[in-house]
Symmetry: C2
Subunit: 489 residues, 2 copies
């Protein structure tokens, strides 16, 4: 066997074991008996140990030096393995171990203090997490910006400065749009009780409509919706509130977007580094395209209104136009995960600025709550009423996920570009979506972007798919046009 073939055979087993780890996570969130939590932590820890020792295996160095890629896909494989290997080797083993230990406990500490609205009690833990992530960022950056190094984990090639420039260009237009919309009359929402079983049946229908491959996946209930797995086993979860059917339906469509990306990657790449979504931002571009630009479009909601009437009878909305307005209702609120398209990115931008300042040492953990609340009042016009609606609302920082938040907005930006491009190529799309047929759009995304997996760098794959340089323009144009029309502003 050539060095390349040996490397790929070794890597394939590592990828298979990583899939096993993902499956344990799925099991934990969906079907695991509650009494199994402690044992499961040990099982996951043992598997993480195996993966870590494979990722630091001394043979990797030699294989990577000697390997010659047979083709472009092979080049991409080597690039991704080299990047991951270099990253692993840069972080001292002792630091990696301490991070794993602290993070495994910090999430529980966060949950406990969020329930008690106790910022002060959480700060020592957050301080330790920030300190460790700063050290990790410094080790990875080797003299460069530690925050950039952390961002690179989730969005290779992206930097804090590039994100800041993009966000600075977006923020004034979003704040202005938000103010105009909230000044206009709010549309009516749905009223009534929507039985859980009927919601789940319709959400399965929506998954099918959006191209979910049931032979390689399944849908279960979980507290937080998620997609998990790559290749031939990509499962999603959803949740149900009997008074808010959109929660179930749009969570499902969102997760189908993530899952369809993984399912859409060329099967030849399965169980290789190229055989997975290329970045968090590009992943989110798929889920957001499915959920918002397609799923909340006037055309598709017209079809969904008809199906909901058939399934649930009357629910306080007279016609498809009113339904479209209800689905896209803009409402102020503290919570990011409940935010509409107009507010969502404003939530992200403040988190990005705050976490970047923390990692760069420009903001002390002790000053975070005041900084959060000040920024929230500036962008959202109201005061935070309690920490669980403020800086304690998200799990991310307690898990050490610094550098992750901006990828949500980057996903929206990429979605804006992709759907602009696909609409240009598919002039009949709205007519099809009005009949509940989104296959032209999902087929376009699969063919132009999803099937490539990690073959190209994140920004490259979006540019190749769109045929133009990605920027925030299309997203902002889309939001202003859509919500300007709905609200007459």
């Amino acid at each position: 066997m050539s060095a390349f073939d040996e490397l790929m055979a070794f890597q394939r087993q590592t990828e298979a074991l990583a899939q096993v780890g993902g499956r344990l996570g799925w099991d934990q969130e969906t079907v695991m008996p509650e009494g199994a939590a402690g044992q499961r932590a040990e099982e996951i820890g043992a598997l993480e140990g195996v993966l870590h020792s494979r990722r630091t295996d001394p043979r990797l160095d030699g294989w990577l030096k000697a390997a010659k890629a047979p083709d472009a896909a092979g080049e991409a494989q080597l690039r991704l393995i080299r990047r991951s290997h270099a990253r692993t080797m840069k972080v001292p083993a002792k630091l990696a171990e301490e991070i794993a230990t602290v993070m495994s406990l910090a999430q529980g500490v966060w949950a406990e203090h969020r329930a008690k609205e106790d910022v002060a009690g959480f700060l020592p833990t957050l301080r330790r997490v920030v300190e460790l992530k700063r050290q990790e960022g410094a080790a990875l950056a080797a003299g460069g910006d530690p925050y950039d190094a952390l961002v690179d984990d989730y969005e290779p090639g992206m930097t804090g400065a590039a994100i800041a420039a993009m966000f600075d260009a977006m923020r004034p237009r979003l704040v202005r749009l938000r103010e105009k919309v909230l000044g206009a009359a709010a549309p009516k929402g749905v009223v009534g009780v929507f039985p859980a079983e009927a919601q789940l049946a319709l959400s399965r229908e929506l998954a099918t409509v959006f191209g979910y491959d049931w032979s390689r996946g399944r849908v279960d209930l979980a507290v937080h919706p998620f997609s998990s797995g790559s290749g031939h086993d990509v499962r999603i979860t959803t949740r149900v509130s009997e008074t808010d059917p959109f929660n179930c339906f749009y969570s499902t469509i969102h997760e189908v977007g993530h899952a369809a990306y993984e399912q859409g990657i060329d099967a030849a790449y399965a169980l290789t580094p190229v055989g997975q979504g290329v970045s968090m931002g590009v992943h989110e571009s798929q889920s957001r395209s499915y959920e918002n630009q397609l799923g909340r479009s006037r055309a598709f909601t017209g079809w969904l209104f008809g199906r909901m009437r058939e399934v649930f009878g009357a629910f306080g909305i007279a016609d498809a136009e009113g339904f479209y307005r209800a689905v896209n209702r803009v409402h102020p609120g503290y919570i990011r995960t409940e935010a509409d398209e107009v507010h969502y990115n404003l939530h992200i931008m403040m988190r990005f600025d705050l976490e970047r300042a923390l990692i760069r040492g420009e903001l002390d953990v002790a000053d975070l709550e005041a900084a959060w609340n000040e920024r929230f009042r500036a962008d959202f016009g109201v005061a935070v009423d309690k920490p669980s609606n403020g800086m304690l609302q998200d799990v991310h920082w307690s898990c050490g996920l610094f550098g992750y938040f901006p990828t949500y907005t980057l996903g929206n930006v990429y979605a804006g570009c992709l759907v602009k491009a696909l609409r240009g190529d598919l002039p009949g799309l709205d007519g099809q979506m009005a009949d509940g047929d989104v296959t032209a759009a999902t087929g376009w995304l699969r063919e132009r972007l999803q099937r490539h997996g990690g073959l190209y760098e994140p920004r490259d794959v979006v540019r190749r798919a769109c045929g133009f340089e990605p920027s925030e323009g299309p997203l902002l144009d889309y939001l202003e046009a859509k919500f300007g029309a709905i609200y007459g502003v």
Copy 2:
């Protein structure tokens, strides 16, 4: 750390990874999307590779030489690790690899040819499997009997000769009982349709009654009922036939017996070699005690009759006595897994004699079908009508499970001893079971046997629990008394 502590820390991670493997198996049989089968095989293969390299880790030798056990449980841990390590090291790596490859395919070949009733098509595969298992047995036996070496995997300390002596003592009494019973009038069975949901609800109630700990387990549907996992996550499966409710109920009680054993082991032994059922025979003694000696007793079926009348209304059985006879109906049949208590061990004995002869080179694979059919006619009085009712009915041999079959009957023999002993200690048991309360019996089994896990050798733990030397006598006495009374013979 002492050598003992280092060894146990290493072993604990191995046990945790083995639990992960068990979880993958559970997932595959209950919730896995069908399109994931190929990828799952790679995931399991990668995990098996990790486990194999841990079991052959060069450090084990040094630890095992230097380790000093701090107590009796530590001695048992060392004994079990030494046995498993010695076993692994005796089989050449190339042979182990070939066995893994051939067995992973042979089950599919068997299923395909069983569906086509094609013995000739399956024989080349079976020949290869037998050949490999003979080689493995020879490597393990190091000059001794290769079949004994294979039996030892499932039932440490047991030999082919000891089993043959026991079976030879049992067979004439069983054949005689069978003939007498089949000469008498058969009891009536149940009639009607028993809705699946109601069956499952009652089967969950039965699991609770028999002491299943739901905080550390769950019940799902699967084609073949099984129990999986140890320690804090022990899951079972069941199945439903709407015309045969006893299938669901007694499959559930059987699997609860297996699961209760794992759940009943002292929690201090979790994720160690001692923290698991000590052998297949002892495991089966628990499932058979729960299912048959307790679950099919006159006292317990009296309670179950009342519950079934409450849940399902009338089903063609007039009273508790008739219900007891229906539950214990003896019927001739080709299929081992559908056999009643009178027939079951006769199925096992013929498999034992045939597989032992195959491994010892006394029977050629080409002659197996004729030998099977001849023996079946001798013990069961009828000719086999087709291979799927004959030598192609069981999956075991295609999986290389030679030496496994006799543990089923050994389980029945141990169950006979255990229930004789516990009935001696619990004179009020029938009165309690008539009220649906089996906790005295399950508590006795937990306290006397289950909690010890692998602390003692299989036969020892049964003898300690019973207070007498285990033998086939109590089982045969129980069967003759029970079925003699039911059939008036």
